[in-house]
Amino acid sequence: MQNSIEVNNVTMSFKRVNALKDFSVTFEGGKIYGLLGRNGAGKTTLLNVINNRLIPTAGAVQVDGMPICENDKALAKIYYIGEKQLMPEEMKVKNYFDATACFYGFDMPYANRLAASFGLNTSKKLKSLSTGYSTIAKLITALACDAEYLLLDEPVLGLDANHRELFYRELLENYAKKPRTIILSTHLIEEISRLIEQVVIIKNGTLLLFASAEEMLSMGYSVSGKADEVDAYCADKRVLSSDSIGALKTVCVLGKPQNVSDSLEVTALDMQKLFIHLTNN
């Protein structure tokens, strides 16, 4: 399919574990995706498979209808940043920008502008950067390159609140000027919950949820009130979790509220809470 990343029945086995099990998902072009999952769920493995850094045990990935495996043309459409810095650590930041420009179309003035707004000194060597600035250097290369698909694994790792805020703004501004597919994999769910259009949740190497952010937010709600009344209301509903403090009970319920009596209080669940309930064992 044109303008998409298709992951078809991918299984990725390591010595003892199956990190992905018969996994299929399609990322449509031009949307911002949130790739969520608990530690070890298979998020990074999926991104590595998509970018051909890992060759799946079974199944295949297609980018714009072309197989990704050993395919330069397809790979050139994807830019991936992860936890590891693959460039030589003696390299200076500005040379890191130059190096990226060898492989992708690259907006150097924009990269330098971004470096200035984040306060990144481009004459520094990569090895001398703090965790936060190391991430920032990678983010800048991602924003300034012209790849149609950006895979950002833990894009705010080590960033302080100010820099995270700045990154989210720059990302949206960049996306407005040049709409492309962006996959954000992060644990800071609340921070990206309004930024993303689609949510993809992985659990134990399988796809748990693929929905729009709006659909996900309307999947559940919480009800609180007197314990016996709450219990009566929840009798025929799927309860995700419940907490009691004395006679007051709060229950998270899957579905949409129906005929709730006035004595009970209904509130929305945020994305992080829903995520926790959906992925708890």
Binding site: R169, E173, L195, D262
Partner: protein, 124 residues
Amino acid sequence: MKFDFDSDVPIFLQIAEQIESGILADIFAEEAQIPSTTEVSVTYKINPATVLKGMNILVDEGLVYKKRGIGMFVASGAKEKILSKRQQAFFDTYIVTLLGEAKKLGINKEQLFKMIDGGMSDAK
């Protein structure tokens, strides 16, 4: 603009409501340009598709119109329309809640009237 991210009202509806409130308060005058999707998206860190969905509600209701390549503008007569829409919704949004709370607190009709009367004369 202010958004309540904990509310169970979807963000795109809040966007439409906030712009309506802006028109009502003359922040966005009739025939004046409203902020672009990108401006709202970047400022409040909301996905542009969500913002656009909110803006399109206003377009569908004829409160705002698009000028190709320039942006979106407040339609003439928009303020009047919003005013009458909100007046109609006033009972459901405010009176029903007010009566519910009054009942919980054991405030009777007479006391309630007295409070409204007092509140109205204070406001003058």
